[in-house]
Symmetry: C2
Subunit: 546 residues, 2 copies
Amino acid sequence: MNSPHIVIIGGVAGGASAAARARRHSESARITLIERGPDVSFANCGLPYHIGGEIAERSELALQTPESLRTLLNLEVLTLTEATSIDPVQRAVTLHSLRDGTESVMAYDKLILSPGASPVRPPLAGIGHEKILTLRNLQDMDRIIAAAASASRVTIVGAGFIGLEMAEQLIEIGKEVSLIELQGQVLPQLDPEMTRPLERELRARGVDLILGDGIEGFRGDETAVTARLTSGREVPADLVILAIGVRPDSQLARAAGLAIGPRGHITVDSYQRTNVGDIYAVGDVCESPDPLVGGHTAIPLGGPANRQGRTAADHIFWGEKAQPYPGSIGTAIVRVFEVAAGLTGASEKRLAATETPYETVTVNGPSHASYFPGAETITLKILWSPDDGCLLGAEAVGVDGVDKRLDVLATAIRGRMTIDDLVHLELAYAPPFGSAKDVINVAGFAATNMRNGLLIPVQALEDAEGEQIVDVRPPAVVEKLPVPGATNIPLPTLRDRLAEVDQSRPVFTVCQMGKTSYFAARILANHGYDARSILGGAWHQAPRPE
Amino acid sequence: MNSPHIVIIGGVAGGASAAARARRHSESARITLIERGPDVSFANCGLPYHIGGEIAERSELALQTPESLRTLLNLEVLTLTEATSIDPVQRAVTLHSLRDGTESVMAYDKLILSPGASPVRPPLAGIGHEKILTLRNLQDMDRIIAAAASASRVTIVGAGFIGLEMAEQLIEIGKEVSLIELQGQVLPQLDPEMTRPLERELRARGVDLILGDGIEGFRGDETAVTARLTSGREVPADLVILAIGVRPDSQLARAAGLAIGPRGHITVDSYQRTNVGDIYAVGDVCESPDPLVGGHTAIPLGGPANRQGRTAADHIFWGEKAQPYPGSIGTAIVRVFEVAAGLTGASEKRLAATETPYETVTVNGPSHASYFPGAETITLKILWSPDDGCLLGAEAVGVDGVDKRLDVLATAIRGRMTIDDLVHLELAYAPPFGSAKDVINVAGFAATNMRNGLLIPVQALEDAEGEQIVDVRPPAVVEKLPVPGATNIPLPTLRDRLAEVDQSRPVFTVCQMGKTSYFAARILANHGYDARSILGGAWHQAPRPE
């Protein structure tokens, strides 16, 4: 089929990518882009940064306009137009113009659904207050900017990626910010111990961070709105931003009889085909096979959406000669002032929830050669399969170089690489950029040492409570950040002071970063002790002054 | 063997790593470290940065001292001690003390050779002048610092990694710097077109860059030394730094009958064993199987040295249960003021020289979302096998994010990943860190488009000389950087102006960055033209004012 009529519903990431790719295949195809909103192909991920002024010009966020898509790609672009029904038998969609209310029917040869997702707005008391806003598109952004102009106190509900970005940006423009999260941690996609540095950073910057508390409802008047929390606490604000997740806009698909997954996503195969002929779905509305833990997963991010759109277009023109979409592993990052954190692949939570066997290790290392100015500590956690050593996931947090480590590990996961491969990665090393042994290599060393029995790890300091703990740090460091109940035997003196360690009990070694505690455990193990090293060190895990 | 006597010759990267790893295996092993110099385990790669003052304290460069190795690892450390012969039958080395001239014989159970390499000092006229120095260790560094103190003009011979780092650092401390390179490009490890931004940066910072000219000899007096070049030019200076490469210190090994490769390296197997029983070699002195193009390769870098040391120690204690060393692919990076450049795997030069079949594509892309402040253009070249799409190498140059892209591609090469895998890498994307379509994804798009015939590439603007060239940039951009002989048909108008393109001849499309020229070529190809897109765009390839 060289000149099909391709109708695409949804003109942002996935839909726009599908249209562009289809046009590369064929100049004679008719390609129609239907968009409910006034804008196409805008930079969704940039919205918080225009609110905070870091992206100065609103026009920077409009990657394309209906006019530019018409001239560059020869598309028919219908904005402010809603698809209200699909007739898969007649291969036609009914369109409703939001401009003039007219209805029309448009036939298609191929239909690509890319309607995206909408912010969740739970049916709580008072949720309809006009100062309770969500952020999904340019109009939402404009409303928040307008409301923020006269607000001094802003409450953000939800400490996921968007909630955190909004908290940062609103602090930057001088607002008082309360950030409320139902979970006992920010960034619930990550494992809790990895988010502590983010929480410290938020509090240090003045965010009123409320964890482990839910919203019961809202009470408001014309100027302010107060959130009532499950704990009984009340949080007053001039503006509330709800950032508690998104829900796929799959109503149209459901009504047309397309298969829908348990959380409301359209189910697709590896060519983005739905269960109904000639209908594809891409982006936030769909879920695809999870290449890591099985089942299906939905990753509502721009990168996967773009590539799914490309895959659908390729399948229209090439059929099964097209490269299938390999599934999404999910890589994400957030900046919170000076600290960045993110993950790729599966978290420990997700592996546990899906009963996937895993091993894990956490290490600390400098962002570049420690002897070169500006090195900052990165905490890196990796997860792998005990069967074959294949990587399943990674999480990282730190001030510098977090994105690089996540990208390397996202690549390794995509390549089905193992902990042995991490040992031998040759990463770019010059003092300003890296280390001869990068923290990723070090994670590989630790993981393979676990497998071969050289390292018997203890995941957290708390797991050693009440046990025989030997703290091998220099006394001056111990003094600043003591480990309760530990005996201090600095590493250089350990061989001479073995008599002070009780050989009848397991011994747990601890240090600052989790490196010399391993050295100490090896000395002890080689002398017949049941010695275990506390991962990550006291640096990360012990409580510190906020 | 639980308590062997392991003798290690050479106490820096590979030797120190072998010693540390051996000690983790066994507390009862006797481990002796023999070092010709006064220092062990120093930060070789940091030397230029202390000369330039960026690393303020000399002590930062001493990662370990003989004393710290004794206390932490229970090593016997003999510095200022040279091994003068090996008796593989008696398993003994003869040692010569540089302190007092005494000789002694030391028996070993296992011997690990890690003597490193020495700077090349060719037998040129005048080479013995005391102001012609090389940089390899802390004493060399001290000599350069002393000589630089009274020098205003410094000549650097060789524009490889160390030559470039020295040029940067010496400019930073106010010297007049001439940098002379025999090849017609800096950083001869890279392909020449990738080094142009470095050359522009060097000249912009005031370096007198002399390319394609060799040294005939030196002429000097007590205070100054003048280099005579092949071209006849004379370059006077107060100090000359030779940085034209290193030569493996394999004399001792050769005398003991160990197998030596064509360029003087000790040949080892994948456990770092030499051809003589109980003798291993690690680091710059050895060469190992090249996993990419076959044959053997020597990568004189700290990362491989460390991991080879670890491998040798593992083999001593575990035999063939140890993980073999997988060979080095070679990843390296250099910072030259604001610009960074590097490579991983094989360059086009190396693939051509080894007659390895390859394909290549070069793309440009922003270091992070282009709508977010601070995005800088990265130029990325990838090379892959036409047989299976497996990546063979990559080179990158730019102001920001070069190290990250090299690391991702080094990982992909190590994982035997393909151009299709690059399409689907899920790299961390938030506006401050990346793009929904990272430049690496874009390279994957371009490479797979080449394979499937959507993209017919032209590697460089020069390859289109005299042909029908259509420049699809906006007229205002064309005016600033015109492409000689091209017809300007801006992309949005192309469909309406097809009549201006001669269908009887091939048409070469060009744009600024190599992206819209592809779009244009697709339009033309779909209308029956033989259309080819000029990779990398006019931005990178056209001459620009220096």
